[in-house]
Symmetry: C2
Subunit: 156 residues, 2 copies
Amino acid sequence: MTDHTDGGRCDTDAHSTQLLQHAGLKATGSRIAILEVFLGSSKPISIDTLEQTIRTDAHLATLYRTVERLLAAGILMRVNLGDETPYYELRDEEHHHHHVVCTDCGRIEDIELCHDDSLEKEALHASKFFHRLDTHALEFFGTCTSCVPHLHHIKN
Amino acid sequence: MTDHTDGGRCDTDAHSTQLLQHAGLKATGSRIAILEVFLGSSKPISIDTLEQTIRTDAHLATLYRTVERLLAAGILMRVNLGDETPYYELRDEEHHHHHVVCTDCGRIEDIELCHDDSLEKEALHASKFFHRLDTHALEFFGTCTSCVPHLHHIKN
DNA sequence: ATCATAATTGCGAAAAATTCGCAATTAGAT
DNA sequence: ATCTAATTGCGAATTTTTCGCAATTATGAT
């Protein structure tokens, strides 16, 4: 992916640091490690997975606090996947995307739709609610192709 | 108990019962009371609000269990409003709608967009993920008109 | 480099949210 | 009226999230 980093070895580290400092947040070890997890995965991540995935060991309280900071800083965004668990992922204006969720096996994938702008425009027209519309979330739910064979006996 | 109240006085009760029996669920007092709450509100409801709103007193465990059943039965659906709290609302195929959320004051409103079908079609085209697409969720986030005056000093 | 300081972390405990097992109750069918 | 399986209440157990505070650390100034 891009850029003239000299070695190009672990630029997620550099990237994390940059993101943090840009947001006026201290670039601490935990934070960098946390951001690395998000930079390394294209899928939404729960606090739980974050804890299991992070390379350092950060206290759970730190994970909660940090994620909250990163949300407030606009670096992360919260994602809903149809279950009770809150998920988070990097907020990427340029690659705005949505999610498809298999309600059978829980598999998730990203999806990019073209008409996002028109969606927001439509929303603005359809209601007088907003002074300013910041963003939107869109998820599709259904049964994925890999799950078809399983559906013989299951009714639910 | 039930009679053909032709007066149409409290038909939420009748409606609840009907919904339940249709789904093969026993029409118990708690369930009816719970459904009445949902029938009486157009907005998504959290377990917490449900507990405060319900006219009878049902044990919290019952609220959790019942909501889960109603979800499984397709009577309720889960709604995400941008915070950590799970919300629920009646699943109404005919009046499929979405939500606009003010991230400043938390106000919520329903919104109906016309192009829902084409949205799902687009999603189906954009990815090979689905065998069957059941539903989708769409929420818009921003600052509502009532909140504009407050925004003088607040930057975040 | 060293220092000052304000932010961040770890820690365990507290609080809140959710689930569980089981006995008592109840809706719906016979 | 009775039977039966589903549902409820209850308190306890579990899980998730928050909190206070002392120890640590990143950052900017010296």
